[in-house]
Amino acid sequence: SAVISQKPSRDICQRGTSLTIQCQVDSQVTMMFWYRQQPGQSLTLIATANQGSEATYESGFVIDKFPISRPNLTFSTLTVSNMSPEDSSIYLCSVGNPHNYGYTFGSGTRLTVV
């Protein structure tokens, strides 16, 4: 399975600011996925990031709020923009494992907005 390095692991941010989360994968992958897990809740897919094209956002998520970059096949960033306390969540990136059709998740970024 791929190994994902996700940074930062946690942060406390002021409302109105932005935070960029990075995911580095140890192998080349076509798609990377970004999820949000609100406190005590399940995971919700934010967007799918393909290298060389615009990310595809799920209903309820927009590019202005969650811009994503995918400059190459091993790296992606998610920015949480103009943050409010409602953005306090764990954000996780994920990639597929072509060998067993499974998915590997990064260690997560625990974001608290104050």
């Binding site: 809740q41 919700t44 059709y101 997560g108």
Partner: protein, 112 residues
């Protein structure tokens, strides 16, 4: 819209006991995943179920998939405290979109 429902959402059980938890989903899919999450941690993959009738076992956990019934079960045998965690099932939307839809998760507490 694909919906994934887990039952129960909370479970407190004694060590040594057995229990089965359920994951239902609303549309056709051949791929179902079980994950474990410890507090403050990321998701750990437990099982990948890829076809009707698939059964996989790891230690005290056994998962199965019935695609006709759109149902997966996760059976716990002789529970131990270390199994305390939240367990999520997730379904891959049909067509290989690679988008996972997660259930709400089941918080398991195993008491000594």
């Amino acid at each position: 819209e694909l919906k994934v429902e887990q039952n129960p959402l909370f479970l407190s059980m004694q060590e040594g006991k057995n229990y089965t938890i359920y994951c239902n989903y609303s549309t056709t899919s051949d791929r179902l995943y079980w994950y474990r999450q410890d507090p403050g941690k990321s998701l750990e993959s437990l099982f990948v179920l890829l076809s009707n009738g698939a059964v996989k076992q790891e230690g005290r956990l056994m998962a199965s998939l019935d695609t006709k019934a759109r149902l997966s079960t996760l059976h716990i045998t002789a529970a131990v405290h270390d199994l305390s965690a939240t367990y999520f099932c997730a379904v891959d939307m049909k067509g290989g979109s690679e988008k996972l839809v997660f259930g709400k998760g089941m918080k398991l507490t195993v008491n000594p």
